[in-house]
Symmetry: C2
Subunit: 452 residues, 2 copies
């Protein structure tokens, strides 16, 4: 009995070893293919430099739709289609913010209206600045000290978190709520310190929301250096800010997410990899989220190129409208439900095209543990962190339907220096870092396709 047991253990560990070895060879093939022949970097150059930023509703977004469909076909997709999505149309237009100090002269401050914000309708609106450093401080402020004024929320992005996403989450409520908080106490418009890990004069835009109870007043962001200067000036004098802007929501429009897939040979269960095709209307949307788009296309290309005989359908989704509405993600989830599609797994890359460090997962403990049991395979690729507890914004509708979802976790140090700014450009993306992110996603999908 003991002998039989020993033999059984031996055989099973030999099988496990053989399995591990086969997988580790496949991991190496995937990595070598992508690092040497990957197209993600040159595709990203094309998307960012020939199309550029591509906010929902813009002509450039529509160009990006055609571009993504073409790239998916060229990568070897068996089927490519556009999925209808009604998207909000927000437009920026001309805008300016000026400051008047003691000397009585007006000087411009570099600024960006926050996404979804209404503007001044082309009129000058000005008011004296009241600065607060936190919501707590703002809540204590009597309404009569805010009425008719401009509220400057100078809440700093915390440098203390090692993962910069924690600093971002911590500060995001200021961007989202500044306008309605200001309106609630009768303020004229809101200015926020940018959600930025850098110390520079680069304003960061990003989505805000209105509380329907209050007037829809404008909200704008200024760079961290400008915020520090303004705070310094306020120590010794009264400051007036004057805003003139044309931004605002211009209704809705029919547009599309772009989908391509390679059919599984075993069943019609679907594995999704994706990113969002839209970006804010500044910079080139290179890290956010051109990177996720080209990495996802790379997965499909690599499966075809290496002839990996996928059991399940591998589908790349280039989601519309993540930045200001998530309408693409919502439409995708709705269609999946209506079409009764079974989704095995979905992963998004939407945290920048930096060197990968891990996979963040939202799924049951058994599946998480299974993925963690593959950690040794990922370790030689610098991927070691399977601790996260979130997945891509576009995947929440799938997650809510019970689909196991995940997100690629790249190194986070540089992302919030450039996130939602004119600085999010192709030259900020490193070829190898971008490709390694695609390697990680392809390796994970290979394992899931094989084992789930």
């Amino acid at each position: 009995m003991k002998n039989i047991l020993c033999t059984a253990v031996l055989i099973s560990s030999m099988m496990a070893y053989g399995q591990q070895n086969e997988d580790s060879l496949q991991f190496a093939k995937i990595s070598t293919e992508i690092l040497n022949n990957g197209k993600a970097y040159t595709e990203l150059r094309d998307l960012t430099q020939n199309i550029g930023h591509r906010l929902s509703g813009s002509a450039s977004y529509e160009k990006a739709v055609q571009w993504a469909a073409k790239e998916l076909r060229e990568a070897g997709a068996d089927k490519v289609w556009l999925q209808e999505v009604m998207i909000p149309v927000w437009e920026r237009g001309k805008e300016s913010l000026q400051i008047r100090t003691r000397d009585g002269k007006w000087k411009p401050i570099k600024m960006l209206s926050l996404g979804n914000s209404e503007g001044t309708g082309g009129k000058d609106i000005s008011g004296e600045v009241v600065m607060v450093h936190s919501l707590e401080e703002y809540e204590k402020l009597p309404a009569d000290q805010v009425k008719g004024k401009v509220v400057f929320f100078n809440y700093p992005f915390s440098q203390s978190f090692v993962e910069t996403f924690r600093g971002y989450s911590d500060a995001a409520k200021y961007r989202v709520n500044a306008a309605s908080l200001t309106a609630k106490k009768g303020g004229k418009f809101a200015v926020i310190r940018s959600l930025s890990s850098a110390f520079d004069n680069v304003p960061h835009t990003g989505g805000m929301r209105y509380d329907e109870q209050y007037p829809k007043i404008p909200a704008v962001a200024i760079g961290t250096a400008a915020a520090d200067e303004l705070a310094e000036l306020l120590k010794s004098q009264k400051i007036t800010l004057k805003l003139n802007s044309h931004c605002g929501m211009k209704g809705e429009k029919l547009s599309h997410s772009v989908i391509g897939e390679i059919t599984g040979h075993q069943d019609h269960e679907v594995i999704v990899a994706g990113g969002h095709l839209d970006s804010w209307d500044v910079g080139e949307g290179a890290h956010d989220d051109g990177a996720g788009i080209v990495q996802s296309i790379e997965i499909l290309r690599t499966f075809k190129k290496l002839g990996i005989n996928n059991r399940h359908t591998i589908r790349v989704v280039c989601f519309a409208n993540e930045e200001n509405g998530v309408k693409g993600g919502i439409a995708y989830g709705k269609a999946a439900k209506e079409n009764n599609e079974k989704h095995l797994f979905a992963i998004e890359s939407d945290a920048g095209g930096f060197a990968p460090r891990g996979i963040s997962m939202e799924m049951d403990a058994q599946k998480i543990n299974q993925i963690k049991s593959w950690a040794n395979l990922f370790f030689p690729y610098g991927v070691y962190n399977f601790e996260g507890r979130f997945s891509g914004t576009d995947l929440y509708p799938l997650h809510d339907m019970g689909v196991p979802t995940a997100e690629l976790v790249p190194d986070s140090q540089r992302y919030f220096d450039i996130h939602h700014t004119e600085e999010d450009t192709f030259d900020k993306v490193n070829r190898r870092e971008l490709l390694l992110g695609a390697v990680t996603m392809t390796q994970l999908i290979y394992m899931i396709d094989k084992n789930w």
Copy 2:
């Protein structure tokens, strides 16, 4: 007995837990201090932009010596001194490489003479190009096919390695030996494809060596894009290259490494942290190795600022002449021996100021295992890789004396895009990545100071 044992186990694990907890709090203090108040980034801006590149023997290196002494004093060193080092003086001077194709016209190619190479003495030297892709291919080439010609070693930097240092090590022999290999078969000068992970027109310099048996002919590097173009041209025609350069070794000179320390309260055993103060004579020496210098100074500053009562002496060494001679490292080892100093541990940062991923160690297995047993403490800081088996070049003399040595392992993806080029400038360094490297080194030195 069982109860006593249980109690003993409980107490010991409570102590271990308490210990772990105390250390993890200290790790957090170090990280918070450096991420919020670290001076490394602004110091690096000063070094790179106000002094710039600083090759051994140059006036700017001497400025950097004074600069480092001042920064160490300002960081709170109890003692700062200069250590004498005889360093080689290599100078570049004017240089140009031109190509003549079928049309008979000469066109310039962007190039850099390799460090330590002799030049043409200001004369034009030209010859027909013979291209080889590997040493094996070159060895098979009869001498009469090389004699009077220019050998172009077009060996590609391998993209397949995940750790780019492996690609670099693999290709380094071409840079080091191209000149003497060419001279051995009677060639006029050697051209190498740059040791670069990028595809661009940026030449990478770096140290080469002469085999004293053969004439000291020139060796130069061209960018990877230029190498590809040259290879393409050679498919269909004969190509002539013409070199004119003034570089060469100009003897030796007395210079200095810069050392600062905070005295230990328990004994005079020394813990060293360092980088090299010299750089190649192009770019700003930002990642290589301004980063290692300012990170090392940050350690000292942080110990003082947090009032960590170090048992052992913590010494920062800014080594002279790593790039073309390692004379600073050798002089340091010699002085340590002569002065009968006991070194407990030494770590260098000389792989770029990128986000840290690990610690590479050269020491006995017991010490390696002890450091590995601290891995949980490092994990929240993105530091997980304790697998390496090398330590800093400047530390080899200490290592040879039996000192446990280590090197910080930052993310390697971007380093060899810019290493030894005009592109190694301050703007390529990210503030948080640089500071996190200093965090890791400070945390490790805190543990070693406390436990060894």
